[in-house]
Symmetry: C2
Subunit: 539 residues, 2 copies
């Protein structure tokens, strides 16, 4: 952006197509600290930071890591622009001019990022990303990195919980665009709810950018916009057949003459436009007395014209969705039976304030919903709107560091660490537990080792059959070394891992905490933790 | 974006610097409806839509409208790109080719937007934006418009509640960047918390783009990164004075020899870098036993060197913030007094899980905090993470429309409306109530009129001294007709309006609902409502 553009913005508060993420999108204290380090000639101290969270969200038992694409893109493109540097001069007038020269040339070429691939199941205290490099650049990366992984991981986990509660053979569609925090809040929600198991979205831009399946029918306004049959006079024909006339015939035959005709006109108009994709929103007047009847009157015409292979059904958007789904299904079946048609392919979509509790209620009462459209409660993560991911210094110039806290769970683990996923027995698909180890720890398959429960004196001896190292180098010299993977493929892997972990029965049974997945420390990490704690304990 | 770029994204799931908002960032049903309208030759029907909310958020008594800059920018730049059109062809294979030709040329040149200026106080059911134009384009605008005003208005209102609870003479700083929904979730939160009364932000990019004051000191990692005095050997001098040596002298004089020295080194290093802006984070080891003492030891040196005019103090980030603020203030005062110095200018910042309840607790118990840093609870709007703004068809081809609902408060008001703000008596600064009127209603000052409480049979006769029309044309032929106004000036106006409405005592006393601000309907609007209701009532 040119300086003139900045001034324009300063004077008008107008938005711009601002960069998706950039070095200045950071907390100012990262910049002031960077100056203090530079001024103290410490900016090239060799540091290690780790990003982790302290508790699984939603009082749950797992988290899915997400946002790695965005972090990678940000780190690869990290570079202050000249106007940004000029801006920083104005807010740090006391800083020496040489600092800004140095800042201008700063890049991530000395940064190494190791960590977990996105879409993996992860647990509290695990270093999801471990960044090594010069102290200052790592400090400057903190805020954007957290911004890019915090919500992505949260919404992905939220989506996976809902999807697996809904269960096999039924779909979840993301409807949250209008309720998210602006355009890329919405894009993040769409992309990562898909990674977490959602089946599609209403968001066309996410379809365009990422190939995520899009779903869409019509709104109440479409129904309300129709008034008289004249409005569809020339547009009620399908394959030469007058759909309105035929639908009116069915309506009479079925004794449904009381339905709202303007709704019927709307359905005829829509069906003639989308004869292979006719999902009718049925609650504009009365779901059972009007909407479902009008839908069936129109669909009977389509069916007799041979339209059976597409996507057909209704969307419920208000009222008691469970009972309405059961009653609608009964009406589908009875109407089909009357004419000798199999209407079992008809779909029932439900939307309106769906959340985990509503899904559980549906499951316990029994319902006939094929697909849930979930907006607000998905994208706002109402039950817990922030994950609380943090980014802590764990080592500097080879010296391990911790962040102390009165609350034990808030104390960080020192040292440059890696995550090991342990399978205790031959042939195990389900991992038994994770171990956090120091980078230099060498653990071998089939070797007895001692591990510790963090911040306790409880130890345990185990002999892993197989150890999977979850921490891998992701970015070297500021550039990604990963092969490109489609979000679709990441999603498939994520779903498989969820099942390997024990699936819904283990991961979504929040009432039984006894089988919670454990994360242990190696003996050497535990020793380092205790030594560091003793060293820094307040007097 | 080029087609090749799309394919690249489809194959990799990599992010791009995608547009800030664009026509494809919409719910797919807007596009399918647009096709059905087009296919039915209804796309140029003359429609009116209105955006409004149904309940003030946070169980409160007011809302601040925000996001108008972004809506304007979006509408002014609305145009599908060729690759976007190609994408839509792939997801709507059954649509006729001519439709896509038409879509390619679609723009907002026939759209008129009237509504409320941003930063104004608004109330349930008021049409904040009223869009007039061809049916299809208005339908396509729905989702992005809601996306851009929903969160903006919510976070602005959230911020104003916190700021006014904190009260005069104390500051609120937005710290939410790492917890927001990605980069522009954060940017929206920063911009509109400032409009709602916040005093600054940690977000440098918002400082750069909008000139919002930025604030920043240092993090725990800065303190933890120091180990020995060697690290600051050459960097502990200020105006030729060895700050460490002098600080150590004060530390001994004051009997504070037990403080953690590495923290003292960090403070010396920071103070030498920012001698005019030295706010120390004091809870890395122990706030009162260590942090405050080390801060004072260093600040005494600065003070004696003449550094009094800058910004000096501490940041509390854990523990009982109220008690710690009181104790810290006492230590400031006692230490100043001992040396005969006036330390009343020292500031206490507090952060860590601040929300409305914490602020109220601070107010009721008494505290010494000068500035609150608020992150998570501000940007996630934890207490209510979505405003629920909706966008409803109110008129088509001159015929009034409503959206029915079993819940009365969810039924929309028909017709093309405007908001009138009424001042009952001469000299009133405080508005008495609002009236929703039909566009053609002509209400004059000092004239007796009959108004109705919505959805009741309760009427009332009033004689306004003065009527302010809140609904003004904002966008004509797709272009803004507003003069550019800086966010700073909008903020000033917003603060003045909040006070005019009765300020904190009236607007933030959520327990007393008797003085809730009323929104009435004119007689003609009420008649139209009843007629439309009678016409569309389900049989």
């Amino acid at each position: 952006m040119e300086q003139s553009q900045i001034s324009k913005n300063l004077n008008t508060s107008q938005p711009t197509n601002f960069d998706w993420a950039n070095p200045l999108l950071t907390d100012h204290y990262q910049v002031t600290m960077s100056y203090a380090y530079w001024n103290n000639n410490r900016h090239n101290d060799v540091a290690v930071f780790e990003a982790f969270f302290r508790k699984n969200p939603f009082k749950g038992k797992f988290t899915i890591f997400a946002g790695l694409d965005e972090v990678t893109h940000f780190i690869e493109n990290f570079k202050f622009t000249d106007p940004q540097i000029e801006y920083l001069k104005t807010v740090m007038p006391q800083a020496k001019p040489q600092y800004f020269e140095w800042l201008k040339n700063l890049d991530t070429s000395q940064v190494i990022v190791s960590g977990v691939r996105d879409g993996r199941l992860v647990f509290p205290r695990e270093p999801l990303l471990r960044l090594e490099g010069p102290l200052t650049i790592l400090q400057l990366l903190e805020t954007p990195v957290l911004n890019l992984i915090n919500f992505a991981s949260l919404v992905c986990t939220n989506a996976s919980r809902m999807k697996f509660l809904v269960g096999e053979g039924r779909s979840c569609i993301e409807f949250g665009l209008r309720r998210a925090q602006g355009p890329n809040g919405a894009m993040t929600a769409t992309k990562y709810s898909y990674l977490g198991g959602f089946d599609g979205t209403s968001n066309d831009y996410a379809g365009y950018l990422y190939g995520i399946p899009v779903v869409g029918t019509h709104a109440h306004s479409f129904v309300m916009s129709f008034e008289s049959p004249d409005e569809i006079n020339d547009h009620k024909f399908l394959d030469g057949v007058d759909v309105l006339e035929k639908a009116m015939k069915f309506r009479t035959e079925l004794g449904w003459e009381q339905t709202e005709l303007s709704e019927l006109y709307a359905f005829v108009s829509y069906a003639c436009s989308f004869p292979r994709n006719f999902i009718a929103l049925v609650d504009s007047y009365s779901t059972l007395n009007c909407g479902v009847k009008n839908f069936l009157s129109v669909y009977l015409v389509l069916y007799e014209l041979g339209y059976k292979e597409g996507s057909y059904g209704i969307r419920l958007d208000s009222g008691d969705l469970i009972q309405l789904s059961v009653d609608s299904r009964r009406m589908f079946n009875e109407t089909g039976k009357r004419y000798g048609y199999d209407f079992s392919h008809l779909k029932i979509f439900a939307s309106n304030d769906i959340n985990e509790d509503r899904i559980k209620e549906c499951n316990s009462k029994g319902h006939e919903i094929n697909a849930f459209g979930i907006g607000t409660n998905l994208v706002t993560c109402q039950a817990q709107p922030a994950l609380g991911m943090v980014y802590k210094l764990v080592e500097i110039n080879g010296i391990p560091k911790i962040k102390l806290s009165d609350e034990v769970e808030k104390t960080s683990l020192p040292g440059k660490k890696k995550i090991l996923r342990v399978y205790l027995n031959e042939g195990d698909i389900q991992p038994s537990f994770d171990i956090l180890a120091l980078e230099d720890d060498t653990l071998k398959d089939n070797q007895e080792i001692k591990v510790w429960i963090p911040f306790t004196k409880q130890e345990k001896t185990v002999t892993p059959f197989r150890i999977e190292e979850l921490t891998n180098v992701l970015i070297e010299n500021g550039k990604s070394i990963l092969d490109a993977v489609k979000i679709q493929d990441k999603r498939t892997r994520c779903m498989a891992e969820f099942q390997a972990f024990g699936g819904k029965d283990r991961l979504l049974d929040d009432t039984n905490k006894s089988d919670e997945y454990q994360v242990y420390l190696t003996d050497s990490l535990n020793t380092m933790l205790n030594e560091t704690l003793n060293k820094v304990k307040p007097q």
